[in-house]
């Protein structure tokens, strides 16, 4: 976690014993801390503090956005999304499909881009909600959403952007984006895990999902996670002060790593576009190896990477994002995601650049062995 987030969490844990909903002075102090955190998170997207609804993370924010918009949708019974969304979008949408909503899942191009016309063409007067990831979690593709929210709004539908991946990586301005709802996550920016927020544009049509109290403007009942919110707010503030420099730093490290790996590993390919992407996400197809084996081998050698998503059993599944982008199942199974964080150093990257090709060679050799043995 970021230094300021740790400090804020420690301070609040030590000093604050109240519930922000309580009337007494401890409660008032807790409320002050919560509202300061809210203002800081809001500032990161250039929004007023009251637009921020704290949640238990990006997943809850996505659930609140989708089910909340559906509950407020009246006769509108269609949802537009894409095939490359995070499971916390896909699963709620599928659930609504099961109770009578019709769902259109837009297919991206090979780079993971949804064309704005795909969305505008799909807009009919019965669309309740358009929910799209601003930047993709697995390949980093940034969607071209300028003017989109306005088009969606004119059709009478609610617009939701899942910005969990984009937050802290690219500048976000809620007013400029113009969307009704936007998902934010704390741990993606070096805040505490288990904390997130939904930006709700004033006047946006949305109903609560969690009931039982007036907290969070009536949109999320229950005592808020004060410590998490304080950490989120502090991380947001730290991100704000150095976003441009941090972007440049991470972009440089990522392109250095990609260049080194491309030279060392023949036929290595990058999934996603070369520009218009989150610089810190490198999704790479490693020829002739199982991503699963490479992932474990790298982990044992101290390099932590990811692949698709983990099933309940903890096994990795080929990425639905790569499949939707037109990759074959075999290609998807050979792909890994290397993510650079705010705490990734130049030394880390130098080490990765030397270890990854070496481990790849070994894994590829073992895969080759077995084919020879079989034939």
């Amino acid at each position: 976690m970021r230094r300021l987030a740790v400090a804020a969490i420690t301070r609040v844990s030590d000093e604050c014993h109240g519930n922000p909903a309580s009337v007494h002075r401890s409660g008032q102090y807790a409320r002050k801390i919560l509202e300061e955190a809210r203002a800081r998170v809001a500032a990161l997207i250039g929004a007023p503090a009251r637009t921020i609804v704290f949640t238990s993370g990006g997943t809850e924010a996505n659930n609140l956005a989708i089910f909340g918009a559906a509950r407020a949708s009246g006769r509108r019974r269609r949802i537009i999304t894409s095939a490359i969304e995070h499971s916390s979008v896909l699963a709620p949408v599928a659930e609504l499909e099961g109770v009578g909503f019709s769902v259109q899942r837009l297919i991206p191009d090979r780079d993971g881009r949804i064309a704005p016309e795909q969305i505008s063409d799909a807009l009919t007067d019965d669309v309740a909600l358009v929910t799209i990831g601003l930047a993709n979690a697995e390949v980093g593709t940034i969607q071209r959403v300028a003017g989109l929210a306005e088009t969606i709004g004119r059709s009478g539908a609610i617009s939701h952007l899942d910005a969990a991946q984009a937050l802290g990586r690219i500048p976000l301005d809620a007013a400029e984006l113009g969307c009704d709802l936007m998902t934010l996550s704390a741990h993606k920016i070096g805040g505490p895990p288990g904390c997130g927020a939904l930006y709700v544009r004033p006047g946006a049509r949305i109903q609560p999902v969690m009931l039982g109290g007036p907290q969070e403007g009536g949109l999320r009942a229950g005592t808020p996670n004060l410590i998490g919110a304080a950490g989120f707010g502090a991380a947001a503030e730290e991100v704000m002060t150095g976003l441009d420099a941090e972007r440049a730093r991470v972009a440089e490290l990522a392109s250095f790593l990609f260049a080194r790996l491309t030279v060392a590993i023949r036929r290595l390919s990058l999934n996603g576009p070369l520009t218009g992407r989150l610089a810190h996400t490198l999704n790479l197809t490693f020829p002739d190896v199982l991503g699963e084996s490479l992932l474990i081998a790298l982990d044992l050698d101290g390099i932590e990477v990811s692949m698709g998503s983990a099933c309940a059993a903890g096994a990795v599944e080929p990425s639905h994002v790569l499949l939707a982008m037109g990759r074959t199942p075999a290609e998807a199974r050979s792909s890994l995601r290397i993510s650079l964080g705010w705490n990734t150093t130049a030394d880390d990257i130098a080490r990765a650049a030397s270890i990854i090709p070496r481990v790849y060679e070994r894994v590829a050799a073992a895969a080759g062995d077995s084919e020879a043995a079989v034939s």
């Binding site: 190896v289 096994a315 070994r362 073992a366 895969a367 062995d369």
Partner: protein, 369 residues
């Protein structure tokens, strides 16, 4: 750096204690659970049953052991390989009138083949499992596969396909201890699965209805009714498919007879189930195919031809005296010293000398009395 070993973990108490023992001995343990069977369809609100391999709860149990004993743990996806090499073989064997042993195939094709390949990718040369069996190296450098000290749990039968190549790089940490000791160790270590019941069923047939599995996976024309006949060809009844029968079985024939009748032979081409009296199913020996010897790969091969051995023709079979003759590279003739029991094509026959597994094969047919 200490020696790395991959422990194949099922979530059960045996493989968990095997991992713990190796950890105590100073190995750098990596736990790997294999995802082998297709997921049961998700049914919200329904708690899945435990007790067979590969449920999510089993992976969780294995993961908890790894967390408690502080070693890395991963799940690898071998569903495709298991589907084609073990489940596919299982179905095909039944459709050909044979009775397969999927645990032997899983060891041969998955644990000691595909898992090896994954291990090599990780730069690991040694694999350990929770099998009850022993491996000892003799003065000539040969690795001998031996029965477990706890004979009631001995699983050497399932491991006969291993040769020097595998035996030299395999560890069976439970070979010298009893099941009771394993459970005691698990309790001492505070492992949550210390009292977990044994898995009894075939892991990919959780309801034990293997007939239905075969029917689901076979082509429609492969599962058809046929006649039950006696040795002379007289029809005594009908059956719903040859896959439902095992040579030597007595129950479930649905034929009234003054004397108990047993399945004597299964003829896939004509879909005939041939039955006979007990005396008619006794065999003098058997012909084995896909024979391998544990000493294979060592410079000084062990003399097995015409040697007195003991042969086990089923896992729970006590073993009977026999002589062995290799008739080609991978075929053998086994003659029982005294008139033997019914032999079931498809089952593994494993050759022992004393406590040592010399090798084994799969029963092709009986040598009739």
């Amino acid at each position: 750096m200490s020696k790395r070993v991959i422990v194949a973990m099922s979530g059960g108490v045996d493989s968990s204690v095997a991992a713990a023992i190796l950890r105590e001995q100073g190995y750098d343990v990596i736990g790997i659970a294999m995802r082998l069977t297709p997921d049961a369809p998700a049914s919200p609100g329904v708690v899945r049953r435990r007790g067979t391999c590969c449920s999510h709860e089993d992976f969780e149990d294995a993961r908890r052991v790894a967390e408690r004993l502080n070693f890395p743990f991963y799940v690898v996806d071998l569903r495709e390989e298991f589907g084609s090499r073990v489940i596919g073989n299982f179905v095909s064997e039944y459709l050909h009138g044979r009775t397969p042993n999927p645990c032997v195939m899983c060891n041969r094709e998955i644990k000691f083949d595909r898992l090896w390949q994954r291990a090599r990718a990780l730069g690991v040369e040694t694999i350990a499992t929770g099998h009850y069996a022993r491996i000892e190296q003799d003065s000539s450098g040969r690795h001998r596969l031996l029965r477990a000290t706890d004979e009631s749990k001995d699983q050497s039968y399932f491991l006969f396909t291993l040769t020097q190549r595998e035996l030299a790089r395999t560890l069976f940490p439970l070979g010298r201890i009893s099941k009771a000791e394993v459970r005691m160790r698990a309790r001492e270590l505070g492992l949550a699965n210390a009292e977990k019941p044994e898995s009894q069923e075939i892991c990919f047939v959780p309801d034990n209805d293997y007939g239905r599995l075969v029917e689901q996976m076979a082509k429609p024309d492969q599962v058809r009714p046929g006649p039950i006949v006696d040795k002379a060809g007289h029809q005594l009844g009908n059956h719903q498919g040859i896959h439902l029968f095992t040579v030597g079985q007595r129950r479930g024939l649905g034929i009234a007879s003054t004397e108990p009748l047993y399945v004597r032979e299964i003829r896939p081409a004509t879909r005939e189930i041939v039955v006979g009296r007990r005396a008619e199913i006794m065999a003098r020996g058997l012909i084995a195919r896909s024979v391998s010897l544990t000493g294979a790969g060592h410079e000084a091969p062990v003399q097995v031809n015409d040697e007195p051995i003991e042969v086990k023709i089923r896992y729970r079979h006590p073993g009977i005296p026999a002589t062995l003759r290799l008739t080609s590279n991978d075929r053998a003739e086994v003659r029982f010293v005294e008139g033997g029991p019914a032999v079931t094509p498809g089952q593994a026959c494993v050759f022992y000398r004393g406590n040592e597994v010399l090798g084994g094969g799969f029963i092709e047919r009986a040598i009739e009395a």
